[in-house]
Amino acid sequence: MMRRRHEGEADEGDFSTLQEPDQYSENLRSSWIRRKSKDTEVDVRIVDNEVTIKLVQRKKIDCLVHVSHLLDQLNLDLQHVAGGHIGDFCSYLFNTKICEGSSLYASAIAHKLIQVMDTSFAAASLA
């Protein structure tokens, strides 16, 4: 299924004019965003109904628990996860699909991820 909605946010790129004449007659939705906080960096890339998320965080807190819950909340169907610990950092790459009938913006995903990570940091420091 094709989508023609475009995101108008200034800090995001947009390839709405990208076309492959032999295969597609409609524009393919595509957008990406990068967000950073003190200890967390998030890249989100959306092509049609596929979402790729790269998450890098300093300090070793098991972030898979929080991220997997968040993906469920956002109606993202988990396809592939890879990652682990590198020095002081945790680095993960998630491949997901947007569930049918659901719609999401890259900025919403990135914002939520940063929020969840920072919240878990705060909780961890309290413990």
């Binding site: 469920d72 988990l78 996860v81 682990g84």
Partner: protein, 151 residues
């Protein structure tokens, strides 16, 4: 003679007054009853419409819930049958790779929320995942990870 005529006049006027009152009462009563009947009918119609509307809402809710259940069942059936069709079985393997480290391989049905619950359970047991991989195909999820206890 004068007394007689005066008395007669009074009688006449009082009679007229009485008749007027009666007419007025009759008119008033008739008017009230008509209005009351009309209002009654109007309210009956409104009540009937409201009942129908409530019924419609309930039917819509039931239909929607059944649709959701149907969709949920489809999803579950897909995952289970997929694994069966491809001869994939759920499994868990654990191997020790160091003093305090284990390697795990887990195959489970691919359902929404399964990975979250697994992560939550391991986290509650104080298990830290170090290097993790998850791949999904044919209704199954393959999870491999190095794990160690959080000190």
């Amino acid at each position: 003679m004068e007394e007689f005529s005066v008395v007669a006049t009074e009688n006449v006027s009082s009679r007229q007054r009485m008749s007027r009152k009666r007419n007025y009462d009759d008119d008033t009563r008739v008017y009230k009853s008509k209005n009351l009947e009309i209002e009654g009918r109007r309210r009956e119609k409104l009540s009937a419409s409201l009942l129908m509307l409530r019924g419609t809402i309930i039917v819509d809710a039931i239909t929607y819930i059944e649709k959701l259940q149907y969709e949920a069942k489809i999803d579950e059936i897909d995952a289970v049958e997929d694994m069966k069709n491809w001869g994939i079985q759920a499994e868990v393997r654990v191997a020790k790779i160091d003093e305090n480290k284990l390697w795990v391989k887990i195959i489970i049905e691919k359902k929404r929320g399964r990975f979250s619950k697994l992560m939550e359970a391991l986290n509650n047991f104080g298990i830290e995942l170090i290097d993790t991989n998850l791949a999904t195909t044919k209704g199954a999820s393959l999870i491999t990870s190095c794990i160690q206890a959080i000190l």
